[in-house]
Amino acid sequence: MTLLALRDLSVTLRDRRVFSGVSLDIQPGELVGLIGPNGAGKTTLMRAALGLLEHQGSSSLAAMEARARARAVAWMPQSREIAWPVTVEALVTLGRTPHRARQLTDTDRAATDRALEWMGLSDMRHRTATRLSGGEQARVLIARALAQDTPLLLADEPVAGLDPAHQIQTMQTFAQMAQAGRAVLVSLHDLGLAARYCSRLVLLGQGRVMADGAPDQVLTPDLVAAAFGITAYSADTDQGRVFQPLEVLE
């Protein structure tokens, strides 16, 4: 069962071709990292895949009816908007919107509780979301997306601004979800986290997919130099894969 299928996807914004010919399949069990330099079109790719943006080519999600899509995929945008001073619990419960009837059911409450627990927010559930720090708000918004309880999660730079412990915890949560038979597509700038936790990386750059495969096949010196213009230290250690960017190439 394929959770996301992109075929020859292209997006042109204001007469500028952002990327073209992107084909991609995501299966249950995968934690896919979407990497690439600023402006490569990572956000655009995810929004087009969701049908939030005009595009050429096809996306299995964009083709779905809106309510069905909301049960198939959860989306955590990069802009961390919380418009009103609602409680953390109320905000995370919004993730149940596509599922719920007028009254919250036990299933809704259980999904909300589970999402709060995953993100370590159980103690904060009655606090006002807008008064939390930026990193805490990011965790609340990740929990909101988790509460939607969908087979596929698309998250746009979810770990940006989080402290190291919560970055690791968030990536571990995603990995656990993938192991439990779901799938996650997550855009990342931290290549160290990408190398360590993702089961697969998609490198977007130069208007196309430059590489798609296991982390050690994508984070090669040549590809990293071509896409990001940097050198890096990379090693398989007894404590797992380590990837550290070093210098900017002239």
Binding site: A70, R71, W75, P77, A83, W84, L91, T97, L141, R144
Partner: protein, 327 residues
């Protein structure tokens, strides 16, 4: 939730009864209620049924409309400074009424003025829909509303400017201040169908407005049809504000202040604010309409003037409070 709604409903009921018992004809409270419910054709029954009952009902209805539309508008735009007049419907309704007074149409038959105002509101909402387009976001709607408000305001000024009839100018100026004095049950029946339709459209928006707390992208990805939400919001607001302005003139600040005041009491959730704000709006307008009768009984103090006089300082207080919280 009922902890907020029940006291508000009680407040509305108490103010409604008080509104029935206060007026220039000094009637004993028990006689008044007997006249209202007891039937009969005496002068007391006449005053109660033809003057005070429609006045109280209109105050409650229009107040609820303004509170509800204000809460919906603030929820959609995710901005506590939004108010129902923002989409230009009250301005264009006022223009319709002004033209009716200016051309003498309003003297031709009793309902000419409110009907002209409704026609103005309809014209305004059609223009907003055309300008804002089917898919434009919140910003385009605000811009369209500002454009129409400005144009309707300019044309209203032009009518006053070129008017050669001082009586018409006088009438226009006083009408624009908003009032519920001397309204009849006919006014109520005229406004009621539009108002009920508008309430129905706005009351269904709760879930979509809640989802918009997370922004347009996230709401859309949760299955909310934003184009439909915006259309229902515009139509619902136009119905209730157009009907209200048609029978009572322009009454400001209720739709701005009431949602703002009640938001902390409902945990800031837009869906829960809708019913609370409707009740709060009804209470505020009933109280204001009582106040205009009690403060200057013989000078015909206008309702819209009073709501602005009370609303502006209240709003200043809210600004002060917000500033202190942000500091």
């Amino acid at each position: 939730m009922t902890r907020v709604l029940a006291p508000l409903a009680l407040l509305v009921a108490a103010l409604f009864v008080a509104s029935l018992l206060v007026g220039p004809a000094s009637l004993a409270p028990l006689d008044s209620l007997a006249g209202l419910f007891g039937g009969g054709e005496g002068p007391v029954a006449m005053v109660m049924r033809e003057i005070r009952l429609p006045r109280a009902l209109l105050a409650a209805m229009i107040g609820a409309s303004l509170g509800l539309a204000g809460a919906a508008m603030q929820g959609y735009l995710r901005n506590p400074l939004a108010e129902p007049g923002l989409i230009g419907v009250s301005g264009s309704a006022a223009l319709g009424a002004v033209l009716a007074i200016q051309t003498g149409l309003s003297a031709a038959f009793a309902l000419a003025l409110p009907l002209a105002a409704l026609a103005g509101a309809l014209g305004g909402v059609l223009l907003v829909l055309a300008l804002a387009g089917p898919r434009g976001g919140a910003l385009v709607l605000i811009l369209a509303g500002i454009a129409i408000s400005a144009m309707a305001g300019a044309l209203t000024q032009l009518a006053l400017n070129l008017s050669q009839n001082p009586f018409a100018v006088n009438e226009i100026v006083f009408w624009m201040m908003g009032s519920l004095a001397d309204r009849s049950m006919t006014h109520l029946w005229l406004a009621l169908p539009f108002t009920l339709l508008g309430w129905l459209l706005l009351a269904g928006l709760g879930r979509g407005l809640d989802a918009l707390t997370l922004g347009e992208d996230a709401a859309q990805a949760m299955g909310i049809d934003l184009a439909r939400l915006r259309l229902l919001l515009i139509l619902g607001t136009a119905c209730v504000v157009g009907a209200g302005t048609a029978v009572a003139g322009a009454i400001g600040f209720v739709g701005l202040v009431v949602p703002h005041l009640l938001r902390p009491l409902v945990g800031a959730q837009p869906s829960r604010l809708l019913p609370a704000s409707a009740l709060g709006g009804a209470a505020m307008l009933l109280a204001a309409d009582l106040a205009v009768r009690l403060i200057l009984p013989e000078r015909d103090l206008k309702l819209g003037v009073l709501t602005a006089l009370v609303g502006a300082p209240l709003f200043l207080h809210l600004i002060y409070k917000t500033r202190r919280e942000m500091a």
